[in-house]
Symmetry: C2
Subunit: 194 residues, 2 copies
């Protein structure tokens, strides 16, 4: 739980530890929906093993916006605390092992933490990071062609391409599966032909 935070703010370890036993372990097959678009998350979810994606529905087809792997967690504080309905559906891509920490416990945890001066610091750091990530994603969508986005993904986060089925990648890049195939084909031909 909260492994991502632990690395950066080890002084908060005792707080997490107290809540570790309260988590619920869950083994689920691929294509399990952990949280549905429009619903309020009742748990903080962290991934011990496997891989999930966040997507939303547009007239029947799914637009993937993010992938998560081992040791990632979501339901970030603000939307979680304020009970804002999720804009995204969270679904496993592979058979996965996840841990759930009930909302009530998370609220207690936050209560504990708010005594700690570095807590605010952590929140600010996390929100700033997340903002930067989404901002870069937006800029990339505006600036780059699908082919450029594919190449960028290939060079910056190749593990995603290796691990995630291609139609999810296509959805993430904002193109049809057919077009992503075309892009790959074109790149392959361009690369070795001459």
């Amino acid at each position: 739980m909260f492994l991502h935070f632990r690395k950066q703010f080890p002084q908060l370890d005792p707080y997490w530890d107290k809540y570790l036993p309260l988590q619920q372990r869950l083994e689920v097959p691929a294509k399990t929906i952990l949280l549905k678009e429009g619903q309020v998350s009742q748990n903080y979810i962290s991934i011990e093993q496997g891989c999930v994606r966040a997507y939303f529905d547009k007239d029947g087809d799914e637009k993937t916006i993010q992938f998560f792997f081992e040791n990632a967690g979501f339901s970030l504080f603000d939307s979680f605390v304020n009970e804002v309905p999720s804009q995204f559906t969270i679904e496993t891509i592979e058979p996965s092992v996840v841990y759930l920490l009930a909302r009530a416990h998370v609220l207690l945890l936050i209560d504990d933490l708010s005594q700690e001066p570095s807590f605010m610091q952590m929140i600010l750091k996390i929100t700033a990071e997340r903002h930067r990530r989404f901002n870069n994603e937006l800029i990339s969508f505006i600036r780059d062609t699908p082919e450029e986005r594919y190449l960028r993904l290939l060079s910056e986060r190749p593990h995603i391409i290796r691990r995630v089925p291609q139609h999810y990648i296509a959805s993430y890049l904002g193109v049809s599966t057919v077009h992503l195939s075309r892009i790959k084909g074109k790149l392959a031909r361009g690369a070795d032909h001459f």
Copy 2:
């Protein structure tokens, strides 16, 4: 200065007031660049009168990502404080009156403010709002066609369409000026024809 914040956090008024006289008033014509992409902002900028846009360059053409009008301010704290180079160019669209508060003064102001408990609250609120705005923009880019984005802009922020030259709107919507004309033409024909 900081009018946007004042409405929401009136208890901080005395802090702003102290720095009001230190601002520099600036009258500038249209198409004046206030901050260049890649440079570190040396001032907190607020707009008293007029209208500006933020854009970045992609292979010679400009991608507009946001518009600002009277009583808005930018150079939000994190990027400002940490001296991160701006990803965007800030340019006036109309002849405008802007106020600049030098970076050094802003740092002093933040120092003052950090005594105040509601300051953190304000930062969190502002960053959350900004994150929501960018997030919605990203989702709209992924989900909506250019025509849908135009209609959304028309219904949600018609003042922008009324006030801003159309080629900037096209750039903001992510299409060519020609295509935006086509969209408008199609909508107009569709509306009154039958």
